[in-house]
């Protein structure tokens, strides 16, 4: 009886959490398939009476007459994917290596390096824009995915290092001692033992880095100028004209922009497995 009660209670809470997540998402989807006229109805049409998929058609199957931003949206999605994936991959590799060193190894200036790395993140990005812009134009990287990757890495690495540090710290030292006794050196321990156990941490950190790069607007705006490098946030901003805001188009862009991260997390979610440590220490 008690168990059933518990399940019912927990299910109720899950439902509540899902409502919290989906109420705005539902509205997001509704507005992407409604005309402006219908969106303005009072009382609200929770289910559109005249749904239209024109917004999706504009972006996915553009024709001659479609707006410029809709036509090029898919390209910007591709750019965002390229940039975000590159940043995530590099940040995870370099970041976890650095993080492991900072957490497990003893060397002079360890604490200050850790704090210094975090410190570089304290400066608001706004003041870094112009110097970075000048740098980009000078080395010929302006309007290229590469400059975005490099810029985002400099932002993402400190946080990735700190995030991974938290996960590394929660791994008992005994595990590594056991590995060392078995003959592994530092790096082998890292690769064979620590990484697999930290996969939840890697996935979460990867998700965080990916989404930070995915969502970044201001640097993408200033450092890119054509579709060869424009990313999704910049494209979405262009649904706004001088006065007109193409809300339907923007919401559609938002729905489409949310899909790749969700898909990625679905693919990688099997790596968030619990209880891996349980067996390792007991034995």
């Amino acid at each position: 009886m008690k168990k059933t009660l518990r399940v019912i209670l927990l299910s109720g809470l899950v439902l509540l959490a899902l409502l919290f997540v989906y109420f705005p998402v539902a509205w997001l989807v509704i507005s992407s398939i409604s005309t402006r006229s219908e969106l303005l109805s009072t009382p609200i049409h929770w289910i559109p009476q005249h749904p239209t998929f024109q917004n999706y058609i504009n972006i996915l199957l553009p024709t001659q007459g479609t707006s410029e931003v809709a036509k090029t949206f898919r390209i910007t999605l591709g750019n965002s994917l390229l940039v975000a994936s590159s940043v995530t991959l590099i940040a995870l590799v370099f970041g976890s290596l650095a993080s492991y060193a900072l957490v497990r190894l003893r060397f002079p200036f360890r604490q200050s390096t850790m704090l210094g790395i975090l410190g570089t993140r304290m400066i608001p990005e706004i003041s870094l824009v112009i110097p970075l812009y000048l740098f980009a134009t000078r080395v010929g990287l302006f309007n290229s995915p590469a400059i975005l990757v490099i810029t985002y890495l400099s932002f993402a690495l400190p946080f990735a290092i700190w995030l991974m540090a938290a996960f590394f710290e929660s791994i008992p030292v005994e595990l590594e001692d056991a590995a060392r006794i078995d003959g592994c050196n530092r790096l082998e321990t890292l690769w064979r033992i620590i990484m697999p156990i930290s996969s939840p941490g890697l996935v979460s950190t990867g998700l965080f880095v990916f989404l930070s790069a995915w969502d970044e607007f201001f640097f993408a705006l200033i450092l890119t100028s054509t579709v060869s490098a424009k990313t999704v946030p910049v494209a979405i901003a262009e649904f706004t004209g001088r006065y007109v805001v193409d809300v339907g188009g923007m919401m559609t862009g938002g729905v489409l922009a949310a899909i790749p991260p969700v898909l990625l997390s679905l693919i990688f979610q099997r790596y968030i497995v619990s209880g891996l440590t349980a067996g390792a220490v007991k034995g």
Partner: protein
């Protein structure tokens, strides 16, 4: 003959090599801009071609620290940060716990959590601006249908309400991050400690407070630092929902910096403002670390 290194020297070398790539990227990109910002903050520098920068030393800082608008904005930003991050932490922890206990639908919930996080901030802001709208918004529509209000309310015209509504939009977008980080941390926790405690007769609450929470401390610390730095520098969401209004009621320190540097072109003053913001966020990070960081905690 290779000279044998001590363990400590070996460690130091390995550490150096492991950290080097990251350091190169971070410093390579950020160092010059950071130094340049600090440098410019000591000048009266107005944006323009062939404009002479005038060295004023710490005058920009003095002007800011004496400006009541600066302090009111800091206060407002603190409110935004504390409420936002506080609620996110509580909600995030609750959701993480919920998922961790594997109730029916937990996988669907965990995947669904990505969606608010994945929706670009501009879309998020625009969406909430429509939801909050006084004449056609979904919030008014819902509350009216539920009978909670009897006529539509112009939410965004009241400064305090507007601020809290912006916070709500930010929470919706950011709770998933904390929830997922903490859930991942929970997944890495060794289960045997709690099992042992439960065998010894500890209640669920005791187990949570005395064992689980302390073990989550590193993850909570990092989540707090990351979110606090982000929240303190919130700009996009305010720009889209209220543009800082009504009557500057939602202007945060980042918005002020944007105004100074980009709208008004006061490069010197904007740079000084940036540095003051860095100091504030550094201070907050220090406080967190002081309170939460216990390096040798593993049992």
């Amino acid at each position: 003959m290779q000279r044998k290194r001590t363990l400590a020297q070996q460690d130091a070398l390995v550490a150096f090599l492991l950290i080097l790539p990251s350091l190169l990227i971070i410093l390579g990109i950020s160092l010059q801009p950071i130094v340049s910002t600090l440098y410019l903050s000591l000048f009266e520098a107005q944006r323009g071609i062939n404009v002479q920068n005038v060295f004023v030393g710490l005058a920009n800082y003095a002007a800011l620290l004496n400006d009541p608008v600066f302090w009111v904005t800091i206060q407002r930003t603190m409110y935004f940060t504390v409420v936002s991050v506080g609620l996110e932490l509580v909600l995030g922890l609750a959701i993480a716990q919920l998922i961790h206990s594997h109730p029916p639908g937990w996988q669907f919930l965990r995947t669904s959590l990505i969606i608010p996080w994945a929706v670009p901030t501009i879309v998020n802001g625009t969406m909430w601006r429509w939801i909050y709208n006084a004449d056609y918004g979904a919030l008014n529509g819902l509350l009216l249908q539920l009978g909670i209000i009897d006529k539509y309310i112009p939410w965004l015209t009241k400064p305090n309400v507007a601020m809290n509504l912006v916070i709500l939009a930010d929470i919706w977008h950011s709770v998933p991050f904390i929830a997922l980080i903490l859930q991942a941390a929970l997944a890495t926790l060794p289960a045997d400690l709690e099992e042992a405690a439960s065998v010894d007769g500890a209640t669920a609450v005791q187990r949570f407070l005395l064992i689980r929470l302390p073990l989550l401390r590193p993850a909570i610390l990092v989540a707090l630092i990351v979110r606090t730095v982000e929240a303190f520098r919130a700009f996009d969401i305010i720009y889209v929902i209220t543009n800082g209004g009504p009557a500057y009621g939602t202007v945060t320190i980042s918005y002020l910096t944007y105004l100074e540097m980009f709208s008004f072109g006061h490069i010197g003053r904007g740079s000084a403002l940036s540095f003051l913001i860095s100091l504030f966020t550094l201070a907050m990070a220090f406080v967190y670390i002081r309170v939460l960081y216990r390096p040798e905690e593993t049992l």
